[in-house]
Symmetry: C2
Subunit: 188 residues, 2 copies
Amino acid sequence: MNLPPLVQAFVLHFGEMGSRWGINRTVGQIYALLYVSPDPLNAEQIVDALGVSRSNVSMGLKELQAWNLVLPKHLPNDRRDHFTTPDDVWQILRTLAEERKKREVDPTLSVLRELLMQTPASDEERHAQARMAEMHGLIERVTTWYDDVKRLETENLVTLLALGAKVTRLLEAKDKVIGLVRGRKEAS
Amino acid sequence: MNLPPLVQAFVLHFGEMGSRWGINRTVGQIYALLYVSPDPLNAEQIVDALGVSRSNVSMGLKELQAWNLVLPKHLPNDRRDHFTTPDDVWQILRTLAEERKKREVDPTLSVLRELLMQTPASDEERHAQARMAEMHGLIERVTTWYDDVKRLETENLVTLLALGAKVTRLLEAKDKVIGLVRGRKEAS
DNA sequence: CGCCTATTTCAGAAATTCCTGAAAAGACGG
DNA sequence: CCGTCTTTTCAGGAATTTCTGAAATAGGCG
């Protein structure tokens, strides 16, 4: 690996974190490299920068494209594929949230729904199903909230986050706040 | 494995999802089993239910306790340790969020801070550092919001989630809403 | 088409993670 | 402090994941 120290430290960190994030070291490193790179890179440049095999880079890029975290970009007068990460970090956050939800939450939600349809055959199953219903209810509430929030423009998302703290404090005097929102809604 | 069909399906699913969630199959299965079990279980019962080795269960329970997802519970007249998951799913969500942040976000935040302190030695490093600053800013905003929200009582958290959608829509007419909140704050 | 360059596939090697059985350590009552 | 029951540790085997090099495929261009 032959990179400026700052870039190298960043790339190595992403490689190490890879396993905690459900990707492998090479994929983490490729993403980090593309993220900080001023221009799109081709596979050969990634091989040189990271010192891994060409085929490993090919597979890594494929996976990153499946995650929508890396895009192919064609340069004029160059047959080779070049790759970049999207510039906008807020868009990256949205993509990440969406993909992780798809992989980590949706399958469970679907299994829960299926199991909740079945008729319990014993007290033990009845209790288990009640617990599954609690879990299902929780996930539904959170994902419903997420489905709303994910549509926000970046500007509004930032505002919502910044506001979050304040809304939070107001909620501690809940009745008052609910009255306020109701009143406002009727007035508008 | 000898479990009622509903429970077994749930347990097997958690086992399969384990790898996507950064835990191994056995750990996922143990958690699922304890989650739907009406009473605390001891290690031997888990071994019987899942058909894995005693030592594997011991290690799995240790890991789940490190995640604060499983608690030891002592039954009277029984020397063996028994284990449960906390009942309240909202508390489970908080724990999960906290632990994942600790493992998946905090180390990166700390590396980013460190790298942002350094003086770039080239244009390439300057650009890389600017990108790291963008990432750092994003994570800070999100975690600041999270730090606020995580303190909420369950009741208020549920309200915030349910409200989320509505706040969202109001934000599309941002100036108006900001005026509203400012006005309210001054009035209170 | 034939040639050249770029990319993907894939079998198996390498590395890592997971799991087990055996042994050690711990905990308690007698 | 001994015997019994329980839990933990850990070396090494099993399983899985990752990575590589070689071969196959693809995609122009003349």
